[in-house]
Every structure is written in C-alpha cells, then in structure tokens.
Symmetry: C2
Subunit: 383 residues, 2 copies
C-alpha cells in the first residue's frame, strides 16, 4: 500500500442552512477543499451521507454532486454507514489512493436534515428496524439505556455527563464553523429539558445541515505541490451487532475496541502517543464510553476523567473534541466524519487558531454509526 496524505480541507458552517440545498452545501465545501489543496483536478470522489433519500428525496447522490461540482466524468461514489458515513468515505478514498488506482481523491460528506423530514424517525432507520424501532425506541432511548447501565456499573454521575457538554461547548465557542458558539454551564445542562432519562437536551447533539470535504493524495503529489503533508498512518473499520440486545455488554462498544486495536497496530502507536482526538459524541455518554474504549482511560473512569478536565484543551493531556464535537459544532450526520478529519488536519497544520493543541503531532478521529454497530478510526500524523 502506498503512503497517503491529506493536502486540503474545506467545510461549510454547520447549522440550519435553510437557504441552501444539499447540492449547494456539498459544492461549497468541496470547492473550498480543492482550492485549499491547490490541485487543478481530482481523479475521483467519495461522498458520505446517511439518508439523502429520506431527508431530501434524492438518491444517486454522488452523480448529482459530481455534476454540480463540475467534475464529470470522474468516478463518484456515495457510501453510507449511518452517522459513520463520512469516516467511511474518507476510508474508501484512502484505499483508492493507497491502491495506486488514483493519485488525488476528494472525500466529502454532507447532510441536509432541516428540510422537513421527521429527523428522529429518519435517524432511527440506523437502528434495527425489525427488533428495536418497531418496538418504539429511537436513539436517545438507546443511549439513555447505555447511560443508565454505565451509571449503575461504574458510578458515573449526572454531573460527569454534563461535564462533556460543558467542555465541548467551550471548545465549539472557539470554532467559527460551529453551530452553537455559546458556552453552557453544568447547571444549564443538568436543568435542560428531559429527552430520555438521564439524557437531557444539552446531552444530545443537534439537528444540522452541513458539508465537509478533504483532498487525499499520494506523497508524490504533495511534494510536487510543496505541501506540508499530513500523513494517514492508520485507517480501520469494524462492526458490531446492530441491536443493543445482541451484545454481551452495552457499556463497551465492541466496534470501537476492535477498530482501535487495528488502528494502533497499523500506526504503531499507543493511546498515550495520541496528542488529541475527535470522537463521536452524539450523546454525552457516547464520548465517555469511547474515551474508555479507545484506551485513553480505564473502563468506567471516563466520566471522572471528563469531570476532572483531563480531556480539556486547557489541560492538554489528551484533548477530546477540540472542534466542539458533534455536541457544539453540529452533527449533519454524513458530514461529521469528514469534519473530524478537518479538525485533525487543521490542528496538525498548526492552523487551529484559538483551539490549537500544543505540540500536536498525532491526532485520532473516531466516527461511529447507530449505537456503535459500525466504527471507523483514522490516525493522522503531522510534521
């Protein structure tokens, strides 16, 4: 396999983009990425999106987007793995460049969620339709069960969950592309509207529109363009049972554990070598589980670590979700996995401004679908 690097990135602001259609949103992000990379063409493109069919009535999405981006007749492929669609798009682009089939590939992600679809119902199609959703449960309920189990098993507290939201909003307030650039207090999170006990409104990532794109290339291309190459040193993906009831434990995300093991092996690094990470905080409890399952903290200690500030930008031990995460930056599901890579790219290029992690050499992006039935992990290295 050839070495692969990231040489450019671009994204829209995340939020309620009522004046823009899905093709407008994607095109804006993709054009910014192409311009940032300084390339005069791309060989191929991948687009991650969870459900353009249900959200906006448009399938065959990659063909629409290639057309509006003006890059016909290059190959354009839409990939879907629920909320991990963006991460999977990046992985497919990585494999294509690594294989030698292409030298310059765009990996993008997009979702338009605010056009009138019943968002909770559409998102629930990422759970097991036949055994979970038909019984009436949706994702806040599934993650609420995980949260209760984690609290029961490890003594995780309501305040520890809230600490994740407080930190991510503090980071997001520094991110010009974030949907919510406002800080929140522990009290505000704990007293926000109940969604699914114990999860409240400010424990949940929002409904968002948005697009993100990056350009992957071979090292040779990066050298020709005089680019400071940000290397992709690991790409891994794993699956788990679609339904929670199929798992031996619901407080460990098996797909995260497996994908992390593979990624650490491929990159030849340990959890302690990771300088910062973007993880999939669709709900506050998810960030706590993932921070344990990635090996940053012992099982059951993720809540305490968040409350102690060990994952904060200010502490600089292993800052998590410096972008604001899904919670504050927003979560247009197909775009999320690519937006995580963009945060890695900006941090590793020293371009993260007020959010800059000191001595950032190795960054990790962890993106997952549903209640963890799919997980994609990438590790990038700069300088």
């Amino acid at each position: 396999m050839r070495d692969v690097v990231v040489i450019g990135a671009g994204m829209t602001k995340f939020g309620e983009l009522w004046g823009k259609s899905i093709r407008d949103i994607f095109t804006e992000a993709a054009q910014k990425a192409i311009e940032d990379a300084g390339v005069d063409h791309i060989d191929s493109m991948y687009v991650g999106a969870m459900s353009p069919g249900l959200f906006v009535g448009q399938e065959h999405l990659s063909a629409v987007l290639a057309d509006y981006l003006g890059v016909n007749p290059i190959p354009a492929t839409h990939v879907e793995s629920a909320c991990a669609s963006g991460g999977v798009a990046f992985r497919q682009a990585f494999l294509e460049v690594a294989s030698g089939a292409s030298d310059i590939v765009l990996a993008g992600g997009v979702e338009k969620m605010t056009d009138g679809a019943d968002v909770t119902e559409v998102l629930a199609t990422a759970a097991d339709q036949e055994y979970e959703v038909y019984q009436g449960i949706t994702f806040p309920g599934l993650y609420a069960m995980i949260a209760h189990a984690h609290m029961h098993q490890y003594g995780t507290t309501r305040e520890q969950l809230a600490a994740v939201a407080v930190k991510n909003h503090r980071n997001g307030a520094k991110n010009p592309n974030a949907q919510f650039r406002s800080e929140v207090t522990l009290e505000q999170v704990i007293n926000s509207t109940m969604v699914a006990d114990p999860l409240r409104l400010l424990d949940c990532s929002p409904v968002s529109d948005g697009g993100a794109a990056v350009i992957l290339a071979s090292i040779e291309v990066a050298k020709k363009l005089n680019k400071n190459p940000i290397r992709v040193i690991a790409s891994s993906q794993a699956s788990d049972t679609i339904a929670l009831h199929g798992r031996s434990s619901i407080t460990t995300l098996g797909s995260v554990v497996t994908a992390a093991e593979k990624a650490y092996r491929m990159a030849d690094v340990k959890p302690a070598d990771v300088d910062f990470a973007e993880v999939h905080d669709c709900f506050t409890i998810a960030e706590i589980l993932v921070s344990e399952d990635l090996g940053f903290f012992e099982k059951g200690k993720g809540g305490q670590a968040a409350a102690d500030g060990l994952t904060s930008l200010e502490c600089n031990l292993t800052p998590i979700n410096t972008s604001g995460g899904l919670k504050s930056k927003g979560h247009p599901v197909g775009a999320t996995g690519i937006a995580q890579i963009i945060e890695l790219y900006e941090q590793l290029s020293g371009k993260a401004g007020a959010r800059q992690v000191l001595d950032a050499h190795i960054g990790m992006a962890q993106n997952m679908g549903g209640s963890g039935a799919s997980c994609v992990i990438h590790i990038l290295e700069g300088k």
Copy 2:
C-alpha cells in the same frame, strides 16, 4: 496494484420474494458465495443497495447485514449509485484487494422492492429531483424520450426495440434464477400495455426482490484454495450529468463511452475481443444505446444488430445478456451489478449450462445508474 480474482458466487432467485426480508435475502446469497468460494472467513464486505431507507425503512444496511451474516466485527460498507450500486460495490471490493489492505472480500448487492413502497417514485429519486422529478417525469418517461430521439436520429424501429426483449426472455428462460422464465414473441412485446410511448410493458425491466454476492481474493489466496481464477482485468467508473437536459446528445451515454475507454485501456483489449457482455437493459432502448457506446456496433446500428440476431446466444458473435438481462432475470436494483458479475463468473468457469457461450474467455459487465449519470464497467478473464 495487486491482481484480483473472483473465486465464488451465489445468488437468490430474483422475483417477488414476499416471504423473505432484506436481511434474509442478502444472507442467503452471501452464504452461497462463501460456500462456493470455500473460504473459512472474509476480511471485509461491501453491499450495493439503492434505497433500503425508502424501500424498507432500514439504513445502516451494511451493519445489519454483517450482523445477520454472522461476520462481526469485520468492516462492512454500504455503497449506493442508484441502479449501479452493485457494480460500485464490486469495484470497491476490487480496490480493497488490489490495495493490499485485504485478501478476501465479499461484494454483494440486494434490494427488497415489493414491500409496499411506491416503486416508481422511489426509483425516481435517482433522477434530478429539483429539475426533472418535480416536473412530473419518472424513468420510463426519460428513457422514452431517449428512444424517440434514437428512432428519429437513426431510424430505429419499434420492432428493433422489441427484438431486445424477445432475445433476453429467450435467454432468461434458460436461467433457473430468473424472475420470468417465459419466452415472449415480437407481437406480444409490441402489443403489450403502453407505459411511456414508445415503451410498452415488455420493454421495461420488472420490479424485483433479490440478492447476489461474489468473493474477490488475491491470486495467492486462489492458488492456496486450488481455484480456477477468474481475473478482474479492468474496473472503471464514470459519471455524466444527472439530468438529460444537461447533455449535448441524449442518444449517446457519455458515462458509458468514458468508462468503456478506460476499461479497454486497462485490460488492453478491444471491443472485438469481448466474447460476451452483460449490459444494463433497464429498458430495451438502453441495451441498444449501450451496445453502441461500448463499441460493439456503430452508433445508430444497435437496433438493427439486435433485430438481426447479432447479440443472440445462438449467433455467438457478441452475445449480450445471456443471463436474461434485467428484462427477464429481474432487476432488484442493488443486486443487479453483482448478478452481472455472477453471469460472467459462471460463463468463464464453463458452468452456465444451457446458456453457455462457446469459447468464453473474456466477458464484460456494464452497470449504470439512472439515465446513465453513473456507469461501472468490469472486464473479467477466464482460463
């Protein structure tokens, strides 16, 4: 890039499979393919499906299917390019093995179309929602416009269109997995119910449920298993404008022309070297256009060639759609591209029974999405 071979295949019967869910259908096909290949594991899997969200309310499809196939925690990825989803799944599996990232990869396709969704409306999401579908047109109408233009420009006749259906039903009658194992006459096609002038019911591929899967591997794996390797000597993909009105001509499919050029170059073969082909006959006119755009016949002569029997199994010049094609075998959209590969695999292995092409060494599969906004072509070589 490493050499890649196909070492196993399996599919369900295509048709109205009312007693089986999408996960049953896929699992049946995948298990048959794994058994046929004789492998004890797979490293990764891809699934092509156009719209499980709109057809059966299930996104995150690859996670569901990996779970029910019992292959967790391997990576499982769903790809979509409308009716070319299966071809794209095969291409991604090809790239993954070619890259060296995996040695044994399953490429499958599935669609469950008869569960109650408005099929014509769901399929129309593969056209341009904002500029075509909102005006009231659906695919039979789009292909009818193409047919009228081809008739006007080249003198293609109603009888020539019908000849494609007659041939494909004759082939499909010999295929145990075909949805319609009945021959039809020219008169029956010409007098069947009008759908969109000039296209009648028997010019249109049917609504189908079905699944198909193949196993791709490195040559080393094939050698260890003592498999007669069917090599993938070309994989190409191209895009065109999503809407017909964006094209300089609607009687030439630009994505087919581009993908064919790339495929011939990669395989180092000419159209005359192709012993037989499976092409995307979603409507009879599509097979005529594609047979020209692949270079088998001069532009405008595809209709005459079909009427003259040049594409028939019996003539053995360049037999097209020996499986029965989408028309007679059925068209569960996500499965179609993989079912085409299965026909190539069976023909090149000498296992096609009553449909066997004499001296079949090189076969081509051409799969496309929408009115040709995406096209995937593979060339396989046996013996």
